[in-house]
Amino acid sequence: MTEFNSSCPVMRPAEERVLLAHGGGGRLMHQLIERVFVAEWASAGLQARHDGAVVRVGGARLAFTTDSYVVRPLEFPGGNIGDLAVNGTVNDLAMCGARPLYLSAGFILEEGLEIETLRRVARSMRQAAARAGVALVTGDTKVVDKGKGDGIFINTAGIGVVEAPAEIAPQAVRAGDAVIVSGDLGAHGVAVLSVREGLEFEAPVTSDTAPLWAPVEGLLKAGLEVHCLRDLTRGGLASALNEIAGAGGVGIEIRETAVPVREAVQGACEILGLDPLYVANEGRFVAFVPERDAARALEVLRGFQVCALAARIGAVRAGPRGVVELESRIGGHSILDLLSGEQLPRIC
């Protein structure tokens, strides 16, 4: 008979280094931001808990944001790093209720990169900028030694003019608000991963990268009250909802069956051991609107091709604060928490 030893070793506190998991959009990233950037910069005016900052210049309210893009492979079904660099920053501005106007682009290129690849990326950026109605007005280029970069890293910054009449922020979310996603989830992450893992599916999955100002403008022009918007990039829907529940001091409940996920994406996630609720999107957002405006908001969103599959997935509750609850497909209830770092596939 085996004697059970009922203990486990106490872990040595990890040496403080940046891990890849710190970039995964989960709890570790939030800790890093809190402990380093918020700690150092709070007094310098950092508005850390939204996709961009809103500043007053003269009489105008400007939204200002920046984002860096690292993706492997550089080109994937449905887009490339250039599309992401334009759309991602455009969308961060849109999520502030701002019309995106001007973008900068900084490139860090790795020695040995084929110029033709760079040209394709630059062309995609021009096309994406035209589609989003923004101008690429300034830029910068640096080259690093072979092996010190991954082909192309891009940083873009953007400014836009806030057109939303009221503040769009987690703090504006109220109990009773409807939670709406703008389309089906998970396509971007799966498109990138399937290239990386060499997987092919019957129906190829292409990235959902797209600019999102047009549907946001649609909501505002329809006179709907918009409390909060968030694009569902790194960490996916689950992470965005947790951030909003935490910052807004509310509870959120969603129904798994209401969340649109295309069959090819669901299938790929089953094979790869991933949960689509945590997979990154590059052309999807979540909107919080008062119950009375929910039906109309869905109707407006569905009028845009990029939001054709928009769906109402749940509601905001007064509490428990900071908690996102999932009603599962079978009617059970569980907590939809932040991940620690990146999603790692399970062994069996």
Binding site: N5, C8, G331, R346
Partner: protein, 364 residues
Amino acid sequence: MKFLDEYRDAAAVERLAGALRRLVRRPWTIMEICGGQTHTIVKSGLEGLLPAEITLVHGPGCPVCVTPVELIDQAVAMAARPEVIFCSFGDMLRVPGTAGSLLEAKAAGADVRMVYSPLNALKLARANPGKEVVFFAVGFETTAPANAMAVWQAEREGLGNFSMLVAQVLVPPAMEAILSSPQRRIDAFLAPGHVCTVMGYQEYEPLSRRYGVPMVVTGFEPLDLLEGIYLAVAQLEGGRAEVENQYRRAVRREGNRAAQERIVEVFEVSPRKWRGIGEIPSSGLRLRQRYRRFDAEERFGVEAARVEEAGECIAGLVLQGVKKPFECPAFGTRCTPETPLGAPMVSSEGACAAYYQYGRRQHD
């Protein structure tokens, strides 16, 4: 999605849950062995749909959780060698040893790669003849055939720069350890469906007879688990104890013979230490003499100091179902997925991490 939606159907679940409520008379404690089953139970909120008489406890079937600290330390030491490309399944990367995790080794400069299959590690070995490619062979009988296949192919190809750090474990000896423990409180088992897909369930029959315990080979979708529980309770209420197969669409009594043959060709049974539990006789696999030159421990001769398990973690009690994760005083406070005191908090298959991720606040 076809072949999945049928097993996640709310109406079917409600019908079966109703039948279970009518069936159950007395309180029963049922253990699911496999971490994949634990994950489904907690994520789908299945426990909340069960009658109050039924208690589920979560067994030791999380390979990441039971891999001993010494092996993780060895893995980290091997990965740190400049000539090594170290390959592992994803969730093993985050498990801390005494000198940190493989992910931390990577951050410090080691070449650590996540792979979905040992055959990808073989590809890396072929493509990098100047490097030593080591694969961390973790898992139960489920992963053993593919891992055996990789070694078998490496031997046929004469691939001298491939080796394997073997941490394979076997389910039936662990079940027997739980059944023979004086602290036992398990009335029935849900046997692990994927393990049985490979091994069949003949080897569970003598265990079920000897200890008078029902065992139901069970799948991984919510409806599978509910049906497995229903069949186990039907046996308990009827005074029967036998092996039944709920997962008929994947499991046959004799299992997958070709896969078993490959395992036996490459591996032999050996004693194995389980993290949080201790050494269990005949509960692991190691490479046979003929394939021993692919054994990374022999090739690199990395000795890891024996780690004395101590501290406030109650992993052993959780892994054998004596305690629930939230009954641990450190749960969710001093022990979280970012600062795990023990392995079950690390992998999403681990009982503690699954509770932390999906069920934490229900027990506040």
